[in-house]
């Protein structure tokens, strides 16, 4: 535990070692996210509401997605690099240490740009999410669950690279989650909708949490936690199994 805390402290120290660039990277991401707010405002101004979604709850969706994305891609920045690390043999340094490798890898790197997403998400919720103590509590819970799910999904998709020897699946999984999570689930129908509640659980990283904040219901909350738990377990298992097939880049250098 002490080791993991020290690792994370160093990751933070590293990302802040160049203060000016840290601040500018965060600001750029915040501006980037504001473009999305702008889009949704313009969109709903024009079309009214769409299948129960309007300018108000879409901003809740955006705040949960960016905050959870900020944690999974910014604070635990290596989550989306698992596949690359597996293929390029970058896990040697971790495996030579007496630490639980997945936890260490995840805490080892913070990415300033995506920390900007986290900052944005929180600020957006506070400014446009009509925060009350109860809603804020649900927001924190939902972001926590969504970020666990998102991180787990990225690790799971990346771990496929241990078995496939290539990382296309990881890359696509990452893009799919981010793109699909950015839109309300109800614009989809049929098989696509089922898919987004199961194999690519994008519904649970944005739409479901946003609805929970608006209108809390224990059943959906339990569902969210359960899905996050299942994916976390699958991610950890596939990473651990994958390590047995890890080739450390030795295929080329031996």
């Amino acid at each position: 535990m002490r080791g993991l805390a020290a690792t994370f402290r160093n990751a933070l120290a590293e990302v802040r070692s160049n203060r000016a660039s840290f601040v500018s990277q965060i600001s750029v991401m915040v501006l980037n996210d504001i473009v999305w707010v702008f889009f949704w405002v313009l969109f709903f101004r024009r079309v009214g509401s769409v299948r129960g979604w309007d300018g108000r709850n879409i901003l809740l969706l955006l705040s949960v997605l960016t905050a959870a994305g900020g944690i999974a891609l910014g604070v635990l920045a290596n989550a989306r690099r698992i596949g690359t690390m597996a293929v390029d043999g970058q896990l040697d340094a971790v495996l030579a240490l007496p630490v639980p490798p997945l936890a260490h890898v995840l805490l080892r790197r913070v990415e300033a740009t995506n920390v900007g997403d986290l900052v944005f998400g929180v600020v957006l919720f506070l400014s446009a999410g009509s925060p009350t103590p109860a809603r804020a509590a649900v927001f924190v819970f939902a972001v926590a669950a969504a970020s666990v799910l998102l991180t787990a999904f990225l690790v799971l998709a990346g771990s496929l690279a241990f078995f496939a020897g290539r990382n296309e699946a990881g890359e696509l999984g990452f893009h799919a989650m981010i793109v699909l999570g950015a839109y309300p689930i109800d614009i989809f129908a049929g098989a696509a909708k089922v898919l987004l509640y199961t194999a690519v659980p994008a519904a649970f990283v944005s739409s479901v949490p946003a609805r929970l904040i608006e209108d809390f219901d224990a059943g959906s909350a339990a569902c969210l936690v359960a899905v996050a738990g299942v994916f976390a377990f699958a991610a950890s298992a596939s990473f651990t199994l994958g390590l047995r097939r890890y080739t450390s880049g030795s295929v080329w250098t031996r």
Binding site: N18, S250, R254
Partner: protein
Amino acid sequence: MFGHACVVAIEVQDLSKVFETGRRRHRRRVDAVDNLSFSVERGERVAYIGPNGAGKSTSIKILTGILHPTQGEASVLGVVPWLDRRRLAARIGTLFGQRSLLWFELTPRQSYRMLAAIYGLDRRREEARIGELGDLLEAGDLFDMPVRSLSLGQRMRCELAACMLHDPEVLFLDEPTIGLDLLAKQRFRELLVRLNTEQGTTIFLTSHDVADIEHVALRAMVINHGSLIYDNEVVAMRRALLSTKLVEVGLSRPAPAPALAGVTVLEHTETTMKLVVDTVTTSIRHVLDDLLDGLPVADISVVDPPLEQVIASIYGRSAV
């Protein structure tokens, strides 16, 4: 005394590792390690050498628990590396020449703090150990500079401190001197010997630099195509295989080749001369003296035979 386990540091029995590369139809099997067996006692300084692609790194990665073998057995300090990687990791140190334990943007001390926490050292132990290593590796003044501002030689000394922090019983080094200049290499080799003699650390070193073997190791194992082809004391190896040096002379004007005992002329032009010196029959110092006295020398250098030549002579010998 305490039996077998306390004396033996590394034990390898019929170890194999097969990589499968390429996709479907182009699938290809590569036997990176092929039925390897050896054992190393505690306190030894072993050079584990072979050309690129011989299987050195793969076997060292199996011994440190990073890779799982396809077949065979191994134990390091009584632990099976791939089954109990974390327990073993706490007792060994690893230094891979091309991969860093240090964080590029931070100072070595910041990295040491993290590593100390990971290895469960308390703060007092940590401070004491960093001080001790700083003195031993003559690197104390480097510990508070950002790693990105260090030269490669300085960085490698800081890397060595990083992997020695938890006082490992065995130190695995994979090509640690690669990329260093001559002086830094020499200094690094001296430090390894010092760690071994003063702290009793077992040194297991891979390299394809013949000089690493001569200056660090007491025992040399040569591996090629995944199997051990030679295992002997370095003294014996030097007598048998490293008994020649190559002398290259630049001439300021044309001169006849000298006739010296134990010296063969390999190449002779108007401006250069290449000689092979048999160090069993004569000493290199003696030859250099004679050359400098008798020839219009503009430039002179002495080099070790390349590893490929050493390996060729191993094969040559075993074929006889």
